[in-house]
């Protein structure tokens, strides 16, 4: 394919490969681009990806599975966009996503990506689990189905299927219930939110998912949606409006903080620990949601918050974005972003690493085991921490 049909044909050559994109905000190292941190080869840097993309589109370089893996290893964490000083920085991730779309158009994607997308198409989740098992996370609970309550609690694929993330999904439901929030869930009628599908460049499948969800939400009369995952939050808040999905979308930390301010969220039991907080990319860099999680944590008696050197817009991605929590192009080895991140957390002296994303939760807990830090550090979702502080076991 000649370059001139590529959406960012007039932009992509502007990357100089100066390397700003590798740094965090405080310049402390060049390990804040997840794929570059993992492999430390220029091909995996943000600039490398753009130059390789351009070479492929120019037919200077042939497609290969390795090329595709380089492209799909980008977690779309947006660190590059934060650090690049040039005016095209807002389109860096879009350039990667558009290149992925070109690969998909030609049927040239890594097998793991193909499986990921097939599973979502077939089963509504990337794991290949049956749709009928989507509500397994709520078995044995009295969580209500959504029937016009104030909030539709959208759990998402990871909270629904992953056994570790299911605990955080249940903790949030229990917290909301105890705070008197009116909410319901979709259970087996929930479908994938499509955020990862969008970032993997499968625009057609994303559109189907978005429209399916929007129609379902509208048919049920949902006006307010609260999500467990920042990924779903991002899709529903920023992408669904393009398809007519104008809902009020909240990440759960936003709703919990409102409930706390109204005096409805009881955290009086406190949480006696030194804790550090990992900013999820799709809450932080994508949606500027840095302060609310911290305000919530600060409201908990006995909890001592210790920031990692890389936090807020300098936070290192856990490596799970853009489907990589399942596709896993960045896993293995002690330089994986998740393993680097739990080491950052351990350096603070914290005994708890708090997260606000089920994907981060799973990624970082696995990394904790690989780093053999389990006796020093535990990964907990903020919902779980608040539940404990509220006396919910």
């Amino acid at each position: 394919m000649p370059l001139d049909t590529y959406e960012f044909n007039d932009v992509i050559h502007r990357c100089f490969r100066c390397g700003y994109c590798k740094f965090p905000t405080n310049w402390m190292d060049v390990n804040n681009c997840p794929p570059y941190a993992r492999f430390r080869m220029e091909s995996y840097s943000c600039g490398g990806r753009l130059w390789l993309t351009r070479a492929w589109l120019n037919e200077t370089l042939e497609w290969s599975e390795h090329l595709a893996e380089i492209l799909y290893s980008c977690t779309t964490c947006r660190n590059c966009e934060v650090k690049c000083p040039l005016s095209f920085n807002v389109d860096i991730v879009n350039m990667v996503v558009a290149a992925r779309s070109e690969m998909i158009e030609r049927g040239k994607v890594p097998p793991a990506v193909r499986r990921f997308l097939e599973n979502i198409d077939l089963h509504g989740n990337p794991y290949g689990s049956a749709r009928s098992r989507r509500d397994s996370w709520m078995q044995g609970t009295d969580i209500e189905r959504y029937e016009g309550q104030e909030y539709l609690y959208y759990v998402g694929c990871t909270g629904s299927y992953d056994t570790r993330a299911q605990r955080s999904a249940r903790a949030l439901a229990t917290l909301l219930g105890k705070a008197g929030a009116s909410f319901g869930v979709l259970g087996n009628h929930e479908n994938c939110d499509g955020n990862e599908v969008h970032k993997l460049g499968e625009a057609g499948l994303f559109e189907m998912l978005a429209q399916d969800n929007i129609e379902r939400f509208k048919a049920l009369g949902a006006k307010k949606i609260v999500t467990l995952s920042p990924h779903a939050y991002n899709a529903m808040k920023n992408l669904y409006p393009l398809y007519g999905g104008d809902f009020q979308v909240f990440h759960y930390t936003e709703l919990l903080y409102e409930l706390f301010k109204e005096g409805k969220l009881d955290v009086s039991n406190g949480f006696d620990a030194r804790l550090t907080y990992h900013d999820p990319c799709f809450l932080g860099r994508w949606n500027d949601g840095y302060e609310t999680p911290r305000r919530l944590l600060a409201a908990v008696p006995s909890l001592r918050l210790a920031e990692m050197e890389k936090s807020r817009d300098a936070a290192l991605c856990c490596g799970g974005g853009a489907g990589n929590f399942e596709i896993d192009l960045l896993g293995g080895g002690d330089s994986s972003p998740a393993r680097r991140r739990v080491r950052h957390a351990a350096e603070t002296g914290a005994t708890v690493l708090a997260v606000a994303c089920p994907k981060c939760l799973v990624m970082l807990e696995d990394a904790l085991k690989a780093e053999e830090l389990e006796e020093k550090l535990a990964v907990r979702d903020i919902a779980e921490i608040l539940a404990e502080a509220g006396g919910i076991r």
Binding site: H13, Y20, V30, F39, M41, I70, E309
Partner: protein, 452 residues
Amino acid sequence: MNAIYQALADIVDAEHVSDRPEELYIYSFDLGTAEPHRPDYVVAPRTTGQVREIVRLANREKVPVVPLGGGLSLAGLAVPLKGGILIDLKRMDRILEVNEKGRYAVLECGVSQGQLTSYLAAHHPGLTHSEPGAPPAATVAGNALIHGQGDLAQPYGFNSDQVNGLEVVLPTGEVCRFGSCAIGASWFTNHPLPDVGLFFGWCGTTGLITKLSIRLYPAKRIRGVGQFVVEDEELVPEIIGRVTGTQMAEDVIAYSRAIPPFGLGLQHFTVNIAANSEKELEFKQELIWDDALGEYIRRGDGGYLGFTRGLEHPQISKTSDYKKGGGFEYVGSIMPIEKYPECYRRGREISERHDIPYTVTGRCVGVGHSMMFAWTYAFNRADPETMRQAREALHETDDLVLELGGVIWKPGTYGQQLILGRLDPGTRALMRRIKEVLDPGGIMNPGNWEGI
């Protein structure tokens, strides 16, 4: 499987060696106008021992070795002109020691400027280093090796003058140390042992630097930049002389550029000033702006444009996007300051002849002892014609540097050959003997200083 590939994977690990088209493509490029050449292998070692083993392998196999730091010289110095093994040294990025009392830092060769700046700010806020105008991904070692200059060049000179010691893997695989560390002492000085300065300015053709010690300097609490402007380029040398004569500035730069248009033909100065107190700052400002430059202001020849507190560290460069084209390259020269007017005029002519908006910059090195004068040419990476024009302008400028009595800084292969053509025969013969002794197989970054 290819035997060299397998040997490299055994030395490092399979993840940090590649002979795949994607890595070979990316590592074939300089970021400037140099033509790409693909390496045969790319390897990213983590330790000096691994570097040594790679070099020994290259000797056995008679394969070229090309060391790469930040890759930001823009002179094509790490383009594998004859293929071979490209060694990306950026994984060797540990800051090994900062000695506050002795004011030095020992670094692995892959430590970036940004990393050191950030580390000092966080852990040793009373210390700073001479940070070049390059992007923060440029390595400290690479910059020193090309005789770079930073924002403390005015008081302390070239960054290569600020090196206290080196650890080097020679082209035949031996590991050597230079400076006080060579006798087991700390890395606090490069003197007074016999001078074996065989690695600076050699473009990686005599060995690979794996560690270095650099001097650090007091970081004053208040740092800022004052600006001054004149129209007449003939005034620039004496203004630089007057400012440096006060010995009150940390950095003195004169520049002129066509964009933005209101600056066309004007000569701007930035003068960095640092102080620990308001009193000290006021004193220094008075000496510079009133005593040294007040006369120009009173005569109406120059204007003081104000003082801005705070220095951007690391500095952010947007030069590459001037033409929304993703590319620029410059010819740097080390030049007598008196040559500024001619450098400006001739450089502007070259730019205009090649339809490139001119940008010229002169940074004072030492107390008026010389300046690094640079002519910058932006190009559009998507337009081969603008790249060709920029390349021609660069070559013309290389010629101009020598014509004006300067020395080409970090010359690419074209500039190297110009220099060799003028080099004192005795010096050239000595360089040839050194090269033959150190690198009998001719494996180190071949194509550079070719034909010594």
